[in-house]
Amino acid sequence: MNNLLPYQDSILITCTIAAVALPLLAALVNFCLPVKSKVAGWVSALAILGSCVLAAKVFAGIWNNHDIHTQQVWFTIGSTKVFAGILLNNLSVLLLLLVSVIALPVHIYSTAYMKHDDRYSRYFTYLSFFCFSMLALVVVDSLVLFYAFWELVGFSSYLLIGFWFTRDKAVQANKKAFIINRIGDIGLLSAIIILFTQYHTFDIVTLFAEKGLISQSVVNNDLWIAPTGTLPVIWQYIACAGIFMAVAAKSAQFPLHTWLPDAMEGPTSVSALIHAATMVAAGVFLLGRVYPMFTQTELTALACIGCFTAFMAATIALTQNDLKRILAYSTISQLGFMILAMGVGAYSSSLFHLATHAFFKCLLFLVAGIVIHQMQHIKDDNNLDIDPQDISLMGGLRKRLPLTFITAVIAGLALIGLPLTSGYLSKDGILIQAFEWSDGKSIWFKIIPLTALLTSWLTAFYVVRLIVKVFFGEFRLLNIVPNIKEHITDGGWQYKLPLILLAVCCLFPLFSINPLSYEHAWLFNGLNISRLTKFESIYNLIIPVAVNVVSLGVMFFAFTIYSKPKTALFPQTGLFYQLSYNQWYFDAIYNRIIIKPILLLCRACFRFDRRIIDGFIHLLAHTSGYIAKLAMWTDRNIVDGFLHLMASIVQSIGNFARKFQNGKVQYYLFSMLLIVLALFILKILI
């Protein structure tokens, strides 16, 4: 089939396949290397560099040009042919490039970060395997293949969360992540099955293209009518709910978000790549792929969920003390923004935010990695019993880690969404479009954009709190343990290069020439499916000004309260503080409502199994044992006894008869005499 394509296209497809296959190759090579081999890091990094270059080439060829879709028959069941192939459009090449570009600095960073780990090459095996799964996920054109790579992404995430599997918390965390992702996978699988039942195809293009099957089907009179068949409308809802479940599990949306903060037990570089930038974006990507499926009502529900998640996670991030946990909740919050944007129809803004968020969140995690690494060194050098991730022990690190500090500030500003950063472009796009969306609807719909607005102010607060607590003031650990040796630095070039690379990507020029208007961003325009000319609403002026002025205020407020040495500002017993500090009690609630009943049920089943089923089987066993013993006794004593009796009778008769045949003439004569005598005696008697 490739031969029919123009030469240029077949080159691009080859590049895509190579870009996807290189990390797999690296994973295989690393898998064969010895566990401690230091070559592994460079194998993986080179592979991802190759992927990156190829992805850039593909990106340049496809972006705003024309889509490429090529497929071949994969297998045939009956008359149904299942195709597998590659779909390259703006969305997939964007993700292809994004994933490889984010992965490259993370790989470089990891070579230094994991240097002393005992399972160095295993780490890179998993990391390359993840990159392969993720790159394949974004380019495949069949829902079945999509599902397969979706699973592989989840699996490699599982491996990496539990990379330090000797820690109990890591094991718990990867189990939790895996189970929650599984719930989402069930949703995706059922959605795929329903779609296949309705449309008889797995092909994403046939289903979701502009004139695809989905756009031709309507919901009418409780029936879901498509060119290929008709189903009750409930199935459409179930399919959408399934997709939503998958999205919620992968992108950590309420109510399936609880795994992401725990997933921070993995190495920090993994958190940066997988749990901040790429894998969690897979859910948003899925939404982007199947976007035409959702009806207006379902999109509104999506917006509500996204909005709630964003707000909830932001409030939780306000009070956490674990550095990575704050970033995790911040990730959840930003993912909530993306889902919200999808819900309000800001398709391109959502993906734009995905791209910008990937850079600055990855950068923040790498910064966190450096800080934690240095704290760990202090801890190890001085034999202290401290949590290296606790921000209440840090402070004043800006002089010790100057580059880390600068990049952290850039990433933080991007996360807050101040002008001149990439975050400003994407986040304000979402907010403006959310306000435009709520126009002309009832007053209740205003809640969503307003909450989003509030959330972005909260974001400003927690980011400043984080940066101030880590980098400003004085080193609080010195207050607790005065005489410690410390010689902490930014680290070697493997640390510095990724930071600089990502920090540059957090600034506006990469995305837009005009630093103040998201509508001029090339990424935004490239993804705009509707291509409607946005009317110049008043929001375009008000929202950015409102957001940024208040954000600046909040930042100043946060800065002043946290840069003071004494930090008992808020009552730590208040209801809201407790709610936030305990992460809205989600884990506790899930424990009580879901996990405990399930464990109880399991124990009950176990007992039922033990007592009743096993008991019944044991009873059967004992009964048949006794029956067998009885049968044995009968056999031995009665059947055998009878036979032995017969045998001994015959034997004794034989022995008796044998005596007369001993070959002695005299004896014969004697016998004869006896018989004659006996006859005579008998004759006399009778």
Binding site: G663, K664, L673
Partner: protein, 102 residues
Amino acid sequence: MITLTDFMIVSAVLFCTGLYMIVSKQNAIQILIGIELILNAAILNMVAFGKYDRVNNGGQIFALFAIVLAAATTAVALAIILNVYRKYKTIDPGRIDKLRDE
């Protein structure tokens, strides 16, 4: 007065003695003697019952024949025993077992 019954008793004693010898002795010649004793018991019976045939004296004559035949058979038997002895170096009939079906 010697009555018939006395002859009968003597004859019966002779017969039993002969029979006992045949059954119990381990010497072929003694067995032969036993046979002779039985024969003589029979002959004695014939002679004793001969008083009922005083005209022809059939009993006495038959007894004579029997004696002659007995002598002949004894001669043959002795010859056999002699040959048996030559072959087996024994005349114990219990140990002469080559005629038996193997």
